[in-house]
């Protein structure tokens, strides 16, 4: 039995309304998109750069976080450096009429970090459900893939696992001034 409790669930409908940012918000984005200053008072450092008060910087960051413009302020680990060698993008061809339920169930698996529906490109690319799995080794990752296959059962009309062999670039979002 699976408990159908979505921990974090959103759809494009929810994301269809962009938040309006003013020029100062935009300058805060540009000043912090490379990272937060590693100084005891990082928000004061940003404030001094922009010529506004630290209180205003913090207020605006809180507002952007509340509205979802900022998902969170956080450390982004490098999978490889942390010993995760089995980083696989698993891709599945499942019936469109069942994909929402199947996607939610796959997303609830503890070893799945991201789960999305994406478009097929027939005939080259038949897969419409993507789930990222991370394990210390490829063998262990492949066992996790079998768990997903078992969960999908007859709805698994074909799947593949794409292991990453090299990070070619990882900078994150960079808007231009």
């Amino acid at each position: 039995m699976y408990m159908h409790v979505a921990k974090e669930y959103s759809t494009l409908e929810k994301e269809a309304h962009p938040v309006v940012l003013d020029e100062i918000d935009r300058r805060i984005v540009l000043a912090t998109q490379h990272g937060l200053p590693l100084e005891p008072r990082p928000y004061h450092v940003i404030a001094a750069q922009l010529g506004i008060s630290a209180e205003e910087v913090m207020q605006r960051l809180r507002r952007m976080q509340a509205s979802g413009v900022i998902r969170r302020i956080a450390a982004v680990p490098n999978h490889y450096a942390l010993g995760y060698r089995g980083n696989g993008m698993t891709v599945w061809d499942v019936p469109d009429e069942h994909i929402d339920e199947l996607g939610r169930r796959v997303g609830e698996l503890e070893f799945v970090s991201h789960c999305y529906q994406r478009p097929r490109h027939l005939p080259d690319w038949p897969y419409n459900l993507f789930a990222m799995v991370h394990a210390p080794s490829r063998d262990e990752a492949l066992q996790l893939v079998e768990n997903i296959a078992a969960l999908l059962g007859k709805h698994d009309r074909g799947h593949s696992v794409l292991f990453s062999s090299r990070i070619l670039k990882k900078t994150g979002l960079r808007f231009q001034p």
Partner: protein, 149 residues
Amino acid sequence: MDAIDRDIINTLQSGFPICERPYAEAAAALGIEEAELLQRLKQLLADNKLSRFGPMYQAEKLGGAFSLAAMQVPEEEYDNVAQVVNSYPEVAHNYQREHAFNMWFVLATETPQRVDEVNADIARRTGLPVFNMPKLKEYYVGLRLTAES
């Protein structure tokens, strides 16, 4: 990496305070001094154990777009194509994967139209088709990597 580094990575993946001395607050929760947390974060970033540390912005919420795109690149052209793709500031990540579709990159753009423009430009410059695979629905996004000894 020692137990304190692992504790820092595991704890700071999920969030960081917005206050006057946020490193001091985060350090207190970890049982270390502010100066030690700053020093260790600098080292983790220098060693590339952390890719970055700071606000994670959502391009969609900023009126822009995120999109995943994939290419099938012949081995002998691989490095040149990677150079072309990586040259766009809109390309946030790019991964080599073991598959006929062997190059996968994420675009973060300021306008939704810019995704198609960049993909078209890459296709024109490389002579290879670019398959755009934007997310249609998001079922789960989380961070569950645990730094273990």
